[in-house]
């Protein structure tokens, strides 16, 4: 019987398999950052163990680095300690680190792909749930906890039970102005935040094949938001073109061998998935969240829902609570929701294509009175590329703030946070209570919606600007 993409990649990495026990899986690339690694390194030190494969390990500083004054010492003591600890550990254990100020510093999930380290058919882990991003290249990529980080550092393997597989087929073409972000927000709203629980999801179909690598990364990134273990997309010419020429991509004969292998990484026609979902890309419109989990979303043209719209008792209560936290009244058109801060960035939408899209919408406009626009590139390379293209000038001339690279307001571990009750339209991936700052209210949106919202001051799409 045929195998799925996920099964092929999995099988290629099984070091040891015993019936009734989890598989011992080899890890091709281990990405680390300052927040989830310190105790893992300390565990190694206590046990007197080395890092088995420093050459398959890469560290960057991203979660709590400042996006202003990044050449000065970090003011927050906890952040500073974590960053300094990472530097010390990387030096002691021989791990390659891209620290603040380095050309390849940035969000770990932006840096891996842009270096060409993320390739089809790999197993990639990181102590961060959005590791699923790398699945866009046809890799099995997922987040792990700190004791697992230590396990990978020491052994380059993980004990893992084989997850079930699911196919999400997106037929047709996304309408004009509708992005990968809208697609994934739509999917999560349809299936709920637990819809993907326990599955490695393969996204396929015409609309997925038409996506750029950036768009595919956005979709796989948010697989976690509907509970999936990982998201994957079969590698194709778009994937190969993206990787070719990147610093760590295979070269010459190695490149040919790699591509030949990557081409075999497609789900066989006679393979079966444990579950299948089919959606029509034509049904997707610009999507925004109104609540406090990523599944609480509606089309931008819709209204804030009312608890009465839900049949399930738990959903009713969840809606009531979310409306109270978000300070929203049922029935309000989403387009009338006033926004204080627009955040463009994160590992979901902080890549060069995202910044180009934002600049295209904003060019020739001003940020609305009373609204703040924060543009945070996902990595230093993205920042420099954007500056080369003059995108920073577009944002600055419109009255926006142009910052250094990092996670920034995606999770508010650095000084970029919302104040209590402050409302954001954010291109990031989580709208949990307090995620962007205590009491802050987050609406998840696509890049074009974020940019148009910055200009209008209320949730808007580019079509509203003319």
């Amino acid at each position: 019987m045929g195998r799925t993409l996920a099964e092929k990649v999995w099988d290629e990495h099984v070091v040891r398999s015993t019936p009734g026990e989890p598989d011992l899986l080899y890890i091709d690339l281990h990405l680390i950052h300052e927040v989830t690694s310190p105790q893992a390194f300390d565990g190694l030190r206590l046990a007197g163990r080395p890092v088995r494969r420093p050459d398959l390990t890469l560290a960057t500083e991203d979660h709590n680095v400042p996006t202003l004054d990044w050449d000065k010492p970090i003011a927050d003591p906890v952040s500073r300690t974590q960053v300094e600890t990472l530097r010390k550990n990387a030096a002691e254990f021989g791990v390659r680190l891209h620290p603040l100020g380095d050309l390849d510093q940035g969000i770990v999930h932006v840096v891996g792909p842009q270096l060409g380290l993320t390739q089809p058919g790999m197993t990639i882990v990181c102590g961060d749930s959005h590791t699923s991003t790398h699945g866009a290249f046809g890799a099995i990529a997922f987040g792990i906890g700190t004791s697992e980080v230590e396990h990978v550092l020491a052994t380059q393997t993980l004990m893992q039970a084989k997850p079930r597989t699911m196919a999400v087929t997106v037929n047709g073409t996304l309408p004009e102005g509708v992005t990968a972000k809208d697609l994934i927000l739509y999917l999560i709203a349809q299936t709920g935040t637990g819809g993907g629980q326990g599955y490695i999801v393969e996204y396929r179909g015409e609309a997925i094949e038409q996506l750029s690598m950036e768009g595919r990364m956005t979709v796989c990134n948010m697989s976690i938001e509907w509970g999936a273990k990982a998201g994957m997309i079969a590698p194709d010419q778009t994937t190969f073109d993206y990787i070719e020429g990147k610093p760590e991509a295979p070269k010459g004969a190695e490149w040919d061998a790699a591509v030949a292998h990557w081409k075999s990484l497609r789900t066989d026609d006679d393979a079966t998935f444990d579950k299948e979902i089919v959606i029509d890309a034509g049904d997707v419109t610009p999507f925004v969240t109104w609540g406090t989990n990523p599944g609480q979303g509606v089309p931008l043209g819709a209204h804030v829902p009312s608890p009465d719209d839900f049949e399930d008792a738990t959903d009713k209560v969840a809606c009531e609570k979310a409306l109270a936290y978000m300070g929203l009244e049922a029935g309000t058109p989403m387009r009338e929701v006033k926004v204080d801060t627009v955040f463009v960035g994160s590992c979901t939408n902080g890549r060069i294509e995202d910044l180009r899209l934002a600049a295209e919408v904003i060019k020739g406009h001003k940020v609305a009175e009373g609204t703040r626009l924060l543009v945070v590139p996902g990595s230093v390379r993205v920042r420099l590329q954007a500056e080369e293209e003059g995108l920073d000038v577009v944002f600055k001339e419109a009255g926006g703030e142009w910052r250094g690279a990092g996670c920034s307001m995606c999770l508010g571990m650095n000084p970029d946070t919302l104040d209590p009750q402050e409302r954001s339209a954010s291109t990031s991936n989580r709208n949990f209570e307090g995620r962007q700052g205590k009491g802050g209210r987050t609406h998840l949106v696509s890049v074009p919606v974020a940019a148009a919202t910055a200009v209008k001051g209320t949730l808007a799409s580019p079509a509203d600007l003319v």
Partner: protein, 195 residues
């Protein structure tokens, strides 16, 4: 991880039930970057009270915790186990443990021993009467002994094997080092490296 076969020591009577991981170690201690040194966080809120049992000089140097039922509920933080071990505990006795806590403790090398509540009551009485009372926890024989009292306890074979041999998850995986090395030898050369 150290091998655990049998342990004899003095004990702390903790007459409380539902001791959750927040009480074992409050969240503020989670900001640290080390794996050790959490003893000052153990029962931090209670230790502010001079009358708290752990503050009594006669219970200095204890290595066995005798706790009420439902020990270790709440968040899954491994720091709870680290704090107990850093403080000097080798064994926790309770009539019922939260599953995640028990799993975490077995992985880290702390022995969680479930015994009947009436055994706990007898141990409390004995150690409160004489804090120098010594308790022996024998993992090989699966018994708790204190004076004339001998109480058997259950522990799954796998956790017992790990503790007897001093094996953590990593140690077990490294036991398959030959398989890992053999796998590495077959990895295609086009796979990327970071250095």
């Amino acid at each position: 991880m150290e091998k655990f076969t049998s342990h004899t020591g003095t004990a702390l009577p903790l007459r409380r039930s539902n001791v959750d991981t927040d009480q074992i170690i409050p969240a503020v201690y989670l900001k640290r970057v080390t794996r050790t040194g959490f003893e000052d966080g153990l029962f931090a809120a209670w230790r502010n009270d001079p009358d708290f049992v752990a503050n009594k000089p006669e219970y200095a140097g204890v290595s066995i915790l005798v706790a009420g039922p439902d020990f270790g509920t709440g968040s899954s933080r491994e720091h709870a186990v680290w704090a107990l071990m850093d403080y000097g505990f080798k064994v926790v006795l309770s009539s019922r443990f939260a599953d995640i806590f028990r799993g975490n403790s077995g992985k880290a090398g702390l022995l969680s021993v479930p015994v009947e509540q009436d055994v706990i009551e007898q141990l409390w009485a004995a150690i409160e009467d004489d804090p120098t009372t010594r308790i022996t926890v024998d993992l090989e024989a699966r018994t708790v002994t204190c004076g004339d009292l001998v109480a058997p306890f259950q522990i799954d074979d796998y956790t017992r094997w790990r503790l007897l041999n001093g094996l953590d998850d990593i140690g077990i995986t490294l036991g398959n080092e030959a398989d890992i090395a053999a796998f590495e030898a077959t990895r295609p050369s086009f796979k990327p490296v970071t250095q």
